[in-house]
């Protein structure tokens, strides 16, 4: 009896240990990324979660040539094990933003703490890297936010809070400034100023020429959304469920939503993604699954677009996109698995007609969507959480899966 009990105990403990181990591996280590696509002429550049950069001909949505490897070789044999145990292994580099296109070059920031510039030639991205920053090592910190190109510089921040300006053509550092806070957002450049939001609840404005801090504005919540700038106002939403409009000239708050003391229409969750501005209206998507349409000048609530999804926990974790007069939004059920095809619908794509105010469901997927939606040639490209790429016609919802097998070679 006692022996049986001991055996049961040992088996139970072993099972707990294994499950703890597996939960730890998948829950705390794995970063897959969620990059969107970018376009050079008619070619789409797509960084997938398996460490490949595909060149896709957008005229027929087929892959061109062989994908370029976006991978890192490390000394750890198994990703869950420390690097001191096991041999070397190659693993994909997670990327959380769309590649930045600089003429005939695609510049991509990686979770490994390096920025790489790949040349584009004859309709296809090429393997021979034009430049890497830092050239020989990693920054030591991930790059989660995307890159922003302006003039001859490319701007980005590492998660430890250092913002960099590199020469976009050759990749050398022009300046760097340590903001002393965690940063997951991409910079936004307007004229000679770089704007970036931080986890320390501050919106920073830096001089694009030398990186000196011009001014900063403190909100009540951490921010990871990329700000947008329009007509002398910076717009950004935060984790305090508040959306801010800050003047670039007075550096003061122009308005915020919801206003202080307002208890109606208070968002239920974070402003996680970059807002959209269209025809004088801000479309601020929230993780509560709603889009708050606000007057860009006054912050007055125009309307709340509440998508009737039937989801248990609808959320918008993917940056929407504008196509003509449509704002296209991906709504995901946050309770669904992001690592496999769900048995039921996990996400839906909607179009908000900015003229009529109406909304329509375009299509749905059994996969979650966290990557930013990208529009090209009046089509919307959707990268799902299990690494499938779809193209959706926003006019009629026609959806096509893009096969990542090469069909042509140039």
């Amino acid at each position: 009896m006692n022996r049986k009990l001991n055996t049961i105990l040992i088996i139970a403990l072993a099972a707990i240990l294994i499950s703890l181990g597996l939960a730890g591996c998948s829950g705390s280590v794995a970063k897959k990324g969620w990059a969107g696509v970018s376009a050079i002429d008619d070619t789409l550049i797509f960084v997938n979660m398996s460490g490949n950069i595909y060149s896709i001909d957008s005229t027929n949505n087929t892959v061109v040539g062989t994908p370029v490897k976006f991978q890192i070789t490390s000394s750890g044999g198994i990703s869950c094990l420390p690097s001191s145990c096991g041999g070397s292994s190659t693993s994909p580099i997670a990327s959380y933003s769309s590649p930045s296109i600089n003429g005939d070059m695609a510049i991509i920031g990686g979770n490994d703490g390096r920025v790489r510039a790949y040349p584009y030639l004859d309709g296809q991205l090429r393997e021979n890297i034009r430049w890497t920053y830092p050239p020989d090592t990693s920054l030591g910190y991930s790059i989660i936010g995307g890159l922003a190109l302006s003039g001859d510089k490319v701007f980005f921040a590492s998660v430890n809070g250092t913002i960099y300006a590199l020469n976009a053509a050759e990749g050398y550092k022009v300046w760097s400034t340590d903001l002393g806070t965690k940063i997951w957002s991409a910079p936004a450049v307007d004229g000679d100023t770089v704007y970036i939001s931080g986890f320390d609840k501050n919106l920073y404005a830096l001089n694009a020429a030398d990186g000196t801090i011009k001014w900063q504005y403190q909100t009540n919540g951490a921010m990871s959304a990329t700000p947008i700038v329009d007509n002398g106002i910076v717009y950004v939403g935060g984790y305090d469920r508040t959306f801010y409009a800050i003047s670039t000239t007075t550096h003061q708050l122009v308005w915020k939503f919801p206003t202080a003391g307002n208890t109606s229409n208070v968002p239920d969750n974070w402003f996680w993604v970059t807002p959209i501005i269209h025809n004088g209206l801000i479309y601020a998507a929230n993780l509560d699954g709603k889009v708050y349409v606000l007057d860009a000048a006054t912050g007055r609530l125009n309307r709340v677009v509440d998508f009737a999804t039937g989801f248990q926990k609808p959320g918008i974790s993917s940056t929407p996109v504008v196509v003509d007069d449509l704002v296209v939004v991906a709504v995901t059920d946050l309770t669904k698995s992001t690592t496999k095809v769900n048995s039921a619908t996990a996400s839906k794509i909607f179009a908000i007609n900015t003229v009529t105010g109406g909304q329509s469901e375009l299509t749905n997927f059994k996969e979650s969507i966290n990557s930013p939606l990208v529009a090209h040639n009046d089509k919307v490209y959707v990268h799902t959480s299990i690494d499938n790429l779809f193209v959706v016609n926003p006019q009629n919802g026609a959806t096509q899966s893009i096969s990542l097998t090469a069909s042509t070679s140039k």
Partner: protein, 289 residues
């Protein structure tokens, strides 16, 4: 069905734990490390009645080991009779064979929820932070303003593995001590082999996990182990640990705070422990007694 179980688990156990953890961080000087320690102590204190029951049952079982061995030897050829005699012995001694398992299993969901909460609030990457968003209480504005939690504590980043190896070693050592204190020397060679394997396997595995897991979890494991050591000591003294470290045998402080001659506690040769003869003084923190 698994989805329903997951939802019930989230609503009843995980979500409250996560939100309390976040609010507690604000109260405790915005320090997540202190919060992990405090919440672990709080939960272990609340579940102490169950732990104590488990430890006492385990100790009683240890005390019966010589008699069980005797029965097994006596009825080596008649397993059925051996089992019957063993059950009679348990009944006579007032010991339930599942006495140490049931309280442990009862506490398991709470520990698991604490473990999951710590993993979630550490939110080391965008995927994890996004996952955390759905567990927050909409009506608690403070949790929205508090996220993401600051991850620096002492010399380490709670969201990353401790590369100085101090925490992983502390996890291994504290777990080994706790295991050693609670693992009796068993007359049955098979069971002794199992026990020895567990004594080394568990600390080794957790040390290994601590090398790659966020330090916040390692901090939770170290805290939990130290609490277990203290509880174990108050219930049954140093136990077999005193066999390894002889200086503990000389003057062992009794659970009541008095001094016990360990010759009474540990019998030579058999090395099994017996109940300390000194009467236990009620400690001020033992409010449930």
């Amino acid at each position: 069905m698994p989805e329903l179980i997951g939802n019930v688990w989230d609503v009843i156990i995980l979500n409250p734990m996560i939100n309390i953890l976040i609010v507690l961080t604000k109260v405790l000087f915005n320090n997540l490390g202190l919060t992990i320690i405090a919440l672990t102590i709080l939960i272990r204190a609340l579940t102490y009645p169950l732990t104590r029951k488990q430890l006492l049952a385990s100790r009683k079982m240890q005390e019966l080991q010589p008699k069980i061995a005797e029965i097994q030897k006596k009825y080596a050829k008649d397993k059925q009779r051996a089992a019957k005699e063993q059950m009679a012995l348990f009944k006579e001694a007032g010991v339930s064979p599942t006495g140490c398992v049931v309280p442990m299993l009862t506490q398991m969901p709470i520990w698991l929820a604490l473990y999951q909460s710590i993993i979630r609030v550490l939110a080391t990457g965008p995927e994890q932070l996004l996952g955390l968003s759905r567990h927050l209480y909409v009506s608690w504005n403070v949790v929205f303003e508090q996220i993401p939690l600051p991850s620096h504590f002492l010399w380490f980043d709670l969201g990353m593995a401790d590369t100085r190896l101090i925490l992983p070693l502390l996890v291994g050592i504290s777990m080994w001590i706790q295991q050693k204190m609670s693992t009796p020397n068993n007359p049955d060679p098979q069971q002794q082999a199992n026990a020895t394997m567990m004594l080394w396997m568990m600390p080794a595995m957790f040390t290994f996990f601590s090398l790659s897991f966020p330090s916040g979890l390692a901090l939770y494991w170290v805290t939990s182990n130290i609490i277990s050591i203290v509880m174990q000591y108050y219930v049954s003294g140093w136990g077999p640990l005193a066999d390894t470290f002889k200086f503990l045998k000389k003057k062992e402080v009794a659970p009541a705070g008095g001094v016990v001659d360990t010759k009474l506690v540990v019998k030579k040769d058999t090395t099994q422990t017996t109940t300390p003869k000194t009467e236990k003084r009620k400690q001020p923190w033992m409010f449930w007694k």
